[in-house]
Symmetry: C3
Subunit: 301 residues, 3 copies
């Protein structure tokens, strides 16, 4: 069995007690490094934007304690998971609690969805809190007894930020604030980093690679892979029938969507993998390649 790798982002550890996997997520201010020396004052979980990746199995019973160290209430929604209403995390309409500052709530549920790629994120003052960075990855792994053809399994979380205090067309080291309700998005991240600070996805020749993509930003991002075609195998945690899988090299991933893809490594090199919206390849409207761009890098020929 292989775990999913979210480059640059740790997996969330758990403690197994009486048949329940206990996780701890701390919602808190996070100073996230987007580029060497360039930081944003955002909000994340356990020191990361996006938060640590949660990985479980179908049938697991989980207790995810969310501790709120923010200056305002929050909640967590388990996006894509069919949980009971009281655990769904939308306090403004559901019988699911608002977590006040310095309080916590134990989200307890059984994983009933089949293996697939999901996300978690705030659902309190959502427009603001999501754009401050409060989201993460939630994977229901293939069962360990299942023979998988996959050698490496990656997740890419797409986010966008409106960073203020930096003149458009310039890039200066420093620590900057966000304006979460501004439409003027100027930094575009994969797993919390902008190119060239993104981490390459390493592969070897003759492997089956899975890349899972999730979007917690504003725009639908068309993610383009060079040198290969993706086989699209699942969306929103739901596998396609094998007869309905299809080939793409550019996958339009809307906010709140996930897509799972596979490809076979038969073309050695260093291959761009990026959002195809031109401005999303720029850091704050500068001309060098930046933003939502990484590479699939063969480590040997």
């Amino acid at each position: 069995m292989i775990l999913v790798i979210t480059p640059g982002i740790p997996n969330l550890p758990y403690v197994l007690k009486e048949g329940i996997k206990h996780f701890l997520l701390v919602a808190e201010p996070v100073t996230q490094q987007l580029l060497p020396g360039l930081y944003i004052n955002g909000w994340g979980y356990n020191g990361y934007i996006p938060g640590p990746t949660i990985q479980v199995f179908q049938g697991d019973n989980v207790n995810i304690r969310v501790y709120n160290k923010l200056s305002e209430p929050t909640s967590v929604h388990w996006h894509g998971l069919d949980v009971p209403n009281v655990m769904d995390g939308v306090p403004e309409v559901e019988p699911s609690p608002r977590i006040d500052p310095n309080h916590y709530f134990d989200y307890q549920f059984k994983i009933t969805n089949p293996p697939g790629s999901h996300m978690y994120h705030t659902h309190y003052h959502t427009a603001k809190q999501e754009m401050m960075g409060l989201g993460g990855t939630f994977i229901i792994l293939d069962p360990p007894q299942k023979q998988s053809i996959i050698q490496r399994d990656y997740f890419m979380m797409l986010q966008e930020f409106a960073v203020i205090g930096m003149k458009k067309g310039t890039l200066s080291p420093g620590t900057y604030n966000l304006e979460p309700l501004s439409h003027d998005l100027n930094f575009f991240t994969i797993n919390g980093r902008c190119f060239p600070y993104t981490i390459p996805l390493l592969v070897k020749k003759d492997e089956n690679i899975r890349i899972r993509i999730g979007n917690l930003g504003m725009n639908a991002h068309p993610i383009h892979l060079h040198g290969h075609q993706f086989i699209v195998t699942a969306t929103d945690g739901n596998s396609f029938l094998e007869s309905n899988q299809y080939l793409k090299n550019t996958i339009l991933v809307g906010a709140g969507e996930t897509y799972d893809t596979q490809f076979y490594t038969n073309n050695p090199g260093i291959w761009p993998l990026h959002c195809h919206i031109p401005h999303h390849l720029s850091n704050n409207s500068t001309t060098n390649t930046g933003g939502m761009f990484t590479t699939v890098t063969y480590t040997e020929k």
Copy 2:
């Protein structure tokens, strides 16, 4: 047989005369209430934005009189329907008439498309008139003799507005004008209302629910359902082969697209159903949940 419900929007009545269903749409200024006490001066049909929902059967012969009470010419396009060119409603290029103020035109055609979800909207000075609100829903119903597993059938029309005269980040009761060519969209509606003024979609446990979604706005809206997975059954009025239906919990609906979905009510509660673009969950950039957000609400457990 069940009719489609567009919560908050009436169905358009008709008179059957000599085998033809006669409808009357009046294009006119409409003061639409987006939120309690907050109105926009828009343009709609028969007093509503979006206009009343038209529901017909395949094979019907219809005469839809469009009377223009606006201050400028208009037309109506039957979006998705394969009508004769003269009835298609694009006077700038087609042999289809421009309807001058205080004039009308009788759009006459036979419904040849199969059952499905379509829309109608202006196609004269389209960029302006659509963004003033001139659109509505057009359903070709399943035939009455067809046994349907569907217990409730809803339509959600997505629209967006650039409301002027209100300071960003504030909400004040009043009546406001639109700037239809402005890109600065600040109100996001489902069937002409913003949350919390949207009307919940009521369901009971153990029902098959159909939700149809249409978009007459600018952005592609990813519509996310909590607690359940959608079965996607049709798009643009065209059913998928049953073997090609697929599961989603977030459906990206582009402007001009429609999607039909089904789900089974096996998870009681009050479940958010909303656009997943963070800023579209806000009314005029305020922080409380607003905009393109409603709920699927179980009325009993």
Copy 3:
């Protein structure tokens, strides 16, 4: 065998030498006429924005010399083609050369992908250079020996431009500069032209028409056809299994995506074919129909 027609844009000629098709693309400043008398100072290939259409067969060996007459370095990426890394055209990360001004590079590769619709574009200072216009169409044709049911085969390249120096809501003849990093897009083109200067796609009754759509802009454009339904047959150069083809009248084409469609001409007339985003039907926020709009025009009944 029929070639693909990109209305208003020539096909790129080649010289066959020793089994290799030799093409020449010149990257250079181009003054492109968007509307009668209204020009932009953009960048294109061989005098056109988008550049000439390249049409080859699977198995062809090609040598595409790219000569750089721009004032800064450039490169060309063969978007969607599985070429060797050194020929992929992303000098910032790949072992693929940067082409300095007044220099050239010979991109040499064998066409290994199956028949389908692809694109080519700059991949150096991509955010800027793509928004200056540096892109074009790349078709791998169906093999000549294959019996095709297609009578006419069209390509539509979608692009967007931020034209400066013209007051919003006005249109004046003249020659204008672009601001490639501006988000304030005001001109929306099909094959380098805005309506009413776009060129109709001519058809006759009882033909099978293929329309291929590619997007090298910023937004995902939902392309809507009146009076007919599209059969969607391929995406990103990859054909769907026939059992997975589906019907649409509005196809959301993200930046970097291509879609191939077919339809049968059974409904004579002049039929709009356009982006359904309201503002994209306007030239510089004026109210008459403009922008990303053309027609499918029957030349006889």
